[in-house]
Point group: none
Chain length 410, copies 2
């Protein structure tokens, strides 16, 4: 069989709802997207529940599902910490517990800024204070991420992810104590409580924070920790299909998922993971990877659509779709590859958060069938033959249409 | 997020098949239903398999599925008895076995009337004879229901639902002996055989039966018992979604399901559970509940459509849909709630029984998407985006569209 190369594009949070400013169209329905329309018309489309009907996907669980992993299996997914850690480049070993961490600003025992003024300098000095500590025989590993973010790992005997967070999730409240959510979590909660208390005494003394105080900025004098999870030991992505995958993404989470599935993650500085990301460069790099026989699968992640949804900006979201569409134009020249595209979830501008609404997706494969959907967008995709498909089946279908799945039976 | 209140309407047995007297339309397709059409056009529609494709749902299993419980889990559902008992107001404890019971007429050892002339008076006197007995250390509880119906509970050690029924299901045959269907059912079968034999001797002696004999009516001199099931300990309906549910229904079964899921069941005398039910009053009471902040979820059950299906009366069924539609009109004023409607199963007039044919349903939620289905009915719903959904996902989708589901992952 003629096995095809695959380009898989995720438009993060791309699904949306009808918007009155856009004549009750969704942002992508309202946008002029000739390239996405062309690919939709040539391929199979559908409205897809990424997890289950009615369920609101997180970005982590949604990406796992789209890549064919079962996020409901607790050995696949037990929390976001390990994904963030992988994205930052920390390796979580079996038995470790990994967390997402934020530098925050505490004043008179109250969290006044959960992001410490989105601190983006000298966080390596803060990390150095944390990384390498040992508490009650448990080793602490820490690495800074972008801005106020970081990943924390506890390593040692008797740990568990059954532990609550110290993050009250809103400002104006004191941090919460870590608590065990089962008997197994006791030791982990104790270590975390000791750790944040030690840091609360020592972080203000660092030169980096002295500088922030002098500049009138919120200092990074406290550590908020959440998303406890165990090591994720995922089977290699596309291992049975001969896939040699590469990921181009800005955000740490997506790089993390890619790393955990065994993808090579390219360093593309123009991929910022924000609205200012250079989509043209990301697409060019993707196509270059497809030209190169080191790879036969490119996972291209675009985050900007999600940001516009969270910000509640439908006109900006529409414009982002148009910028993405224009950037995607060169892929029309690649007539012998399978092109699959899907949001990971809907982030409707009217709700400013993830929602349960299914996402429009398509798979365009050379020589395969077409269906009734002739444009890209929620209402158009609904007409397509993939409507009703679940996220967990999407990648297997992509592999199948790339002639990469073996017969089951004979 | 802006959490919405929910109105959930079940049109029992509402699905049907093309009928020649109705120009090969189904009863609801033939009916004039402007309100259901309006709600369908504004929302998402679909043809739904309530259990699995090809499977014929019972009313009990279908309602459990629609409310999000898995009827294939034997700890959720092991038989109809416990549901009937709950509907009548009997509480089934763990270890109890509950049954549905009918008063019947036995003559010369033959069942000549399985419903004892649909006896509807003095059944409390008959119940008194049964309730409180004790046989071989097993306590007998009994409560009369509507007409010839009642619920029976056995309480004590060593009981099991693995027991056959004494009901031959047709008249003109003798009752069957109860038999154990596994080794565990032996004691239960023995107690039941002793019980019905005791009652066969004592029931004819009661004054209530003397009166029936004088009036030339079939006497209630025998007890048919079926639907053995264990206690159903269901998690509270919508417990994770902050649901405060209330049920408005006529039939005991539906009140039973509602009770078992922790719903408040309103006493509405005009809700008869029959063709004579006052739909206008039921809808008014439903809307009053939605106006009241004690509730945020109304389960409104309408049985008449099923009765017309069982009777094989398509013109009456069509007319019932028109009466229901007219009664539903005031809900169009409630623009900020989620309105979900589904039959529990099809009861085609041509088959006079439940069938496997999927049911037309819709969910209309403020600010959400619409799809291609513009009217209510089997062939119209088929065009909608929910086609392919299963009953077990329906309520989760309703919760999601009411902004009541939490993110899975982050």
């Amino acid at each position: 069989m003629n096995e095809k190369k695959i380009l898989f594009v995720v438009l993060d949070g791309g699904g949306d709802l009808p918007v009155s400013e856009l004549d009750n169209l969704t942002p992508v329905e309202a946008a002029s997207t000739p390239v996405l329309d062309n690919l939709s018309a040539k391929g199979l489309c559908g409205l897809m529940d990424v997890l289950k009907p009615g369920m609101v996907p997180g970005s982590d669980t949604a990406h796992l599902a789209l890549l064919g992993y079962d996020p409901f299996d607790k050995y696949i997914y037990s929390g976001r910490g390990p994904v963030e850690a992988a994205g930052i480049g920390l390796v979580v070993h079996p038995g470790d517990i990994a967390f997402r961490a934020n530098f925050a600003t505490l004043k008179n025992g109250i969290i006044i800024d959960r992001r410490a003024g989105r601190i983006n300098k000298r966080t390596d000095e803060l990390a150095k204070l944390i990384n390498g500590r040992e508490i009650d025989g448990i080793k602490i590993l820490f690495k800074e991420g972008t801005e106020h973010r970081g990943a924390l790992i506890l390593r040692g005997p008797g740990l568990s992810a059954d532990v609550t967070s110290n993050d009250p999730k809103v400002e104006g409240w004191p941090p919460r104590p870590f608590e065990a959510s089962s008997i197994e979590g006791k030791r982990t909660a104790d270590v975390l409580n000791k750790l944040v208390n030690q840091l609360a005494r020592k972080l203000p003394l660092l030169a980096a924070n002295e500088e922030r105080r002098e500049q009138g900025k919120n200092e990074a004098n406290y550590l908020l920790v959440r998303g406890a999870g165990e090591a994720m030991l995922l089977p290699a992505f596309g291992g049975k299909q001969g896939i040699k995958p590469v990921c181009i993404a800005g955000g740490g989470l997506y790089k993390g998922v890619a790393t955990l599935t065994g993808m090579k993650v390219l360093d593309v500085p123009e991929a910022t993971g924000g609205i200012d990301s250079d989509f043209h460069i990301k697409v060019k790099r993707s196509l270059k990877c497809l030209d190169d026989d080191s790879y036969n699968f490119v996972f291209l992640h675009i985050k900007a659509t999600d940001n516009a949804g969270h910000d509640g900006k439908p006109l900006i979201k529409k414009n982002i779709f148009e910028r993405i569409d224009s950037a995607l134009e060169p892929i029309l020249e690649y007539k012998d590859i399978v092109i699959a595209l899907s949001p990971d979830h809907s982030t409707p501008c009217s709700l400013k958060d993830h929602s349960c609404d299914p996402v429009p997706c398509f798979i365009t494969a050379p020589g395969r069938r077409t269906d009734s959907a002739k444009k890209f967008g929620e209402r158009f995709a609904m007409q397509g033959s993939l409507t009703g498909i679940r996220g967990k089946h999407f990648m297997n279908l992509v592999f199948g249409l790339a002639n990469r799945n073996k017969k089951f039976g004979s």
